[in-house]
Symmetry: D3
Subunit: 278 residues, 6 copies
């Protein structure tokens, strides 16, 4: 169960409206790695935890915080849209600066949302449930989370560089800091799990059931051997259970696939060349 407090977690007040930046800032709301994604990802992961209350509590702490981040961003976008030049089409033709703003705005900010935030990204794609993952395996999911916070902080930093508005920068400096903590925090949670389970996800699958002879090989499928000099191509593997190996000339192990004709009631093209055998 949730409760809402009217105050924002952190301030979200720009110095002045900027509808072009409002469009860009949407990436942090409804983009693949926006706050809707981390919010829903942590909540779904938290609700799905089976045992492990410590991790469940952690996921719900942060997932709940992220709802408030969507709120801050939605508030900021609404304010950046204040006074947007939405109906002076003709003057625009004369004032190129206004024209550029009107041409560059997200038209849905005015037509659909009446100067409110949209649940979509900086080019207008709606947020989608398949941006997130909750797998039931915490090590896998914490890696997804570390990834999300890394991409998210990178995007927030890029947006920070794209504005000179002090108020926007202030809010972004908070989000950047929180993303820094969340990287630090998921990294710690990952370290804790890797200590117990080892590097590989999932850790519980008996390794003898996989084709161990190909578990440590880098195949050189792209001409050129620059990649052979990396730590992943020689020496002990990070999982402590094998030795990396570089395969300079990978050869196929399988056969040329030849498929059986389809049943006639599917009306596929029939084989004309007698190639089928099995």
């Amino acid at each position: 169960m949730f409760r809402h407090i009217k105050e924002l977690q952190f301030e979200a007040m720009p110095e002045r409206p900027d509808p072009l930046f409002a469009k860009k800032l949407q990436e942090l709301i409804g983009g693949q790695y926006g706050e809707m994604s981390v919010m829903m990802q942590y909540l779904f992961q938290g609700w799905a935890v089976r045992g492990n209350q410590k991790y469940k509590d952690l996921l719900l702490d942060i997932g709940t915080e992220e709802i408030g981040h969507v709120e801050m961003l939605a508030t900021m976008v609404a304010r950046l849209l204040d006074d947007a030049p939405v109906n002076i089409q003709e003057e625009a033709a004369q004032d190129p600066v206004v024209g550029a703003v009107m041409g560059g705005m997200n038209p849905q900010h005015a037509i659909v949302a009446g100067l409110g935030a949209r649940p979509s990204d900086s080019v207008g794609n709606p947020w989608m449930g398949n941006y997130i993952v909750s797998s039931g395996n915490l090590l896998a999911d914490f890696r997804a989370n570390l990834n999300a916070e890394s991409q998210g902080r990178l995007q927030a930093v890029r947006l920070y560089e794209m504005t000179n508005d002090r108020g926007v920068k202030d809010m972004l400096s908070v989000l950047i800091a929180r993303d820094a903590y969340h990287q630090n925090q998921w990294a710690a949670a990952i370290a804790e799990l890797e200590e117990q389970e080892g590097l590989l996800v999932p850790s519980t699958f008996p390794r003898e059931k996989e084709r161990l002879d190909v578990s440590y090989k880098l195949y050189n499928f792209s001409e050129g051997e620059e990649s052979s000099t990396g730590r992943w191509a020689q020496g002990p593997a990070l999982d402590g259970q094998g030795e990396y190996e570089y395969v300079s000339e990978p050869v196929p192990e399988g056969e040329k696939p030849v498929l059986k004709p389809a049943p006639s009631n599917l009306h596929n093209t029939l084989p004309m060349d007698g190639t089928f055998r099995r």
Copy 2:
């Protein structure tokens, strides 16, 4: 530029058809973490590398290998669909086993694809470009890659457990092994980058520009303090630059947001309660 060799990298021959399993196996082709995703993710990342030929080569080595994995899976799905019971509607009513197969099959396997693989997941959602990421920041992207290989191996393992077909298990045991290598390999590449850049993505943003006072805090937004006992809540942070702190009672720092009325030509509801001030 690419070349194709007719032989499969590894064999993809089931013991017998199984259209229900073919439907499930689609998750590894066109799912969020299927082989189409890693293939396109590594290729786009490789093509976007600016400098750093070692990493570019690595990305293209693996991206190219993954095209061949889509090929193996597409071949396997086609064979699992051999002889699928597509037109005996009425006997089905009498034989419940056949009925279950027919009710449980992906109908597009027959109607749309003529018993071929589909570029979609196990419930029929088409693969989408926004499953992948290529950000230009390699540490961020390698974390995305480690995540993808972790989720991917987890899914392959689950599918391995869902079949008794020796041929399918053989192919999956290879994919599981390759995903193990790829976890080992991205982990090594991440370690290499973290050694140079530190833990945080991006490493080049001056930390004094972020709100450092909130960069190491875990806010207790979900009642209950189980999460306060983790490594992320006290002691030195993994980035070596701060000390984790647990905030038991987070308080809002921002104000209650009050938005300005919209321009009248947008025909929003006007404020009726005189609440606006700025």
Copy 3:
């Protein structure tokens, strides 16, 4: 800013696992009119209110409640998936009941989510941001909300009829009751706004700017005149500003459209019949 309380708003405990029903229940989580939709719709509307704190507070009251409903449903789905028969492929062929369950389950519940809820609907479509609306016009949006609660309660009632599990029915009886309140509540809010603004959205557009001569006509575009007997075809209009009129034989008012040839550099097909005139 939000806080999370560990207890559920209402209980979500089924009597027994039922993976087929878990699949169906996903409609109430991630469907077009599921709880993710009302949650995000009310929150986005609330965050966008400009003035009118009473409505803002109302939207955030209910939006916050709905986050907790997603939580209840996610918990219920996870429990319905307990002990799902995910790996006994071969016995299934012998036990048709188990077979039907395995064939009918959402495969992503096992492969992707490890027996957790998914952010998608009953056929597996991911939830999308464009299910929701927040327009800045409260009368328009409250009608969207009344619609959502009507469709939502209808779906919850249908699901109630599809199960005999006492625990599931108990939870649904709560959701059905809440949807009843929310219909009652949005209807009241609509009545309040209509009293001030009248029936038409938006109320602020000067009516003389619309083609008033066609503002009260029902055109009989579908042969047969059954629709001419409704209240919408004669008598005073509900907006109190006109008289309904039934047009039995609608005639076109516009011309046949003839479009100008495209510029040659677009390489459209050129007109071959000299038809263009303007």
Copy 4:
């Protein structure tokens, strides 16, 4: 069965081309509440009516009219795109007005459609089948329709304000008038149904099966009590069957959810803290 008349229902002739407005006008064609949506929504609802020929006829009258509205808009968009500056890239750099036009146009209007309309919205999202609803319950669906006409008229009005082209305004003034009628008309149909069935959808579900003790309560989940002053928080409910009640301090009724561990063959993270009990 349908027939097409070459003339447009109403004229669709702009005074002059305006590719930027063409982009915006797409919202009324392929947006969430565009004419494709109402057209398909009314047709699908009409085709699904079981009995009730009066409503079926009404739905098909209007659904058929809406096909003609898509036609008018597609014609208008094509004309607004006449002579669009699609290939003078270099002059554009010198003439900022042309530059703004070229930068602000929907590139698919030229590259994909050769200056024709697109089945998508103002930011380029394709129209989707899940924008519409047809539930089989007419009161629910008529509320969806009233909502669609409210959002649709609001958007048309906003677009009317964004142009000075007399021809475009003329066409929009017709669409605004028709949307006014359709609001008037669905409101009348709703009133007719509510008279028979009452306020709640669906009306046929026995109320004693819902948790009536929570059917009239507003829970104060968002701090602050502004919403307690509304008509929805006290006095007789609009459905005439209960009394509204305001709950200032909502308390959870459910337990903390604790989920059972997943079967081992799913390779979820195992519980490490012995928390499971049921």
Copy 5:
């Protein structure tokens, strides 16, 4: 402008309900090549024709017919869903045939649509605007149309083979016949255009502007030379302007791409290996 006639173009009456077949038949309504696609494709193409009234009329003749085909299919689906076993969950466990039906039905047919058709395909994906094309180039678009009618007839034939219901077969035999005509008809329209314009789309682009030395070559990128024996690998090209050529060993013509570092404010990974040169 359109008119609707109550009677169906052709009968759509099954002998008996069959909810599993209703699910499959959705492919012909809302699938990539279903009737919604051809309907919208022909209408959008027709509305976009610039000059060429003969083709415009043709497109609108057929586009209008296809609306009626969606109507026939929606009617058929509704009837196939009559009496669907939607609420006898528990008997289902005892009767495997009913169980298979209930497990195999599209759950949205009952929960969302109340036994009506859905604007989506056989696995539940919503129809999307980007299934269709209207390019302004008629030869290109007529090829799209011939393709759509070919895939569409193939799917209708496969569905015909999957049922024994006489009424369903009767309706499909009509749709199959109409798709046969439409193949015949688009093929004739294509022949007419090719006679005037030649084989290549677009015909108006000066051929000397393309790299004519590579305009007739088949590159052997997939090991094995089976494809060298086709008509496309030798002899005069079908466009009458060149000679097909088979290139057994394709070699790259471009350089290894080396990209310039990104500006520092994007915080991409910096080159560490001094590889950039331009």
Copy 6:
């Protein structure tokens, strides 16, 4: 199995950066008819061929080439984005040309991709698996391929006309040439198949099972008889098996559909007018 060669198949080097053109060029990467579509379409078709090694080899030859085309375009987009003005927001307000560039850029090129290509089209829609088709019927699929190459060449030609950059034009002149070959080549493959199978897809369905009396008729559903003068309206049909016929006044053959009431547990609106009969 695939291999990658570092060199590009053809050069991809613009004379100078042009972020606006980079946005447009995305249509050729991730658009409905971009190179990702032909690449995946040919590979999936190739992998699904059952027998017919000549066609399988052909599909894999070209599918493999197309991967290299995505690579060329991704490289070109990255170079067009070099030095994009991503952070000088304020100067932009003063320099309208820079402003137009910044307003017109795809914001995800900077924020998400760090100046790399995106797997999406010119308006930002992600590439989707349902852009492609692989049906198992080669004649159907080769028509899809001819269509794709026709639309693709048309779009490449339009983009060629929109730029003056010599390097971009050089690359496009190659892609235009390859699309010319591919039209020539699929046309030849189609001719070869039609010679054996005839015009209609599928050729194996016994024609007597279709309603042959409607297989050659053009119904005049759109008022006006311009379409009656085409080759498709009279004379021998192209399939050599019938005579085209023009039906000036099409009449419905079916009845008015009247649907049976839904079961009461679905809570649809009940019929109020006693219209049901069957």
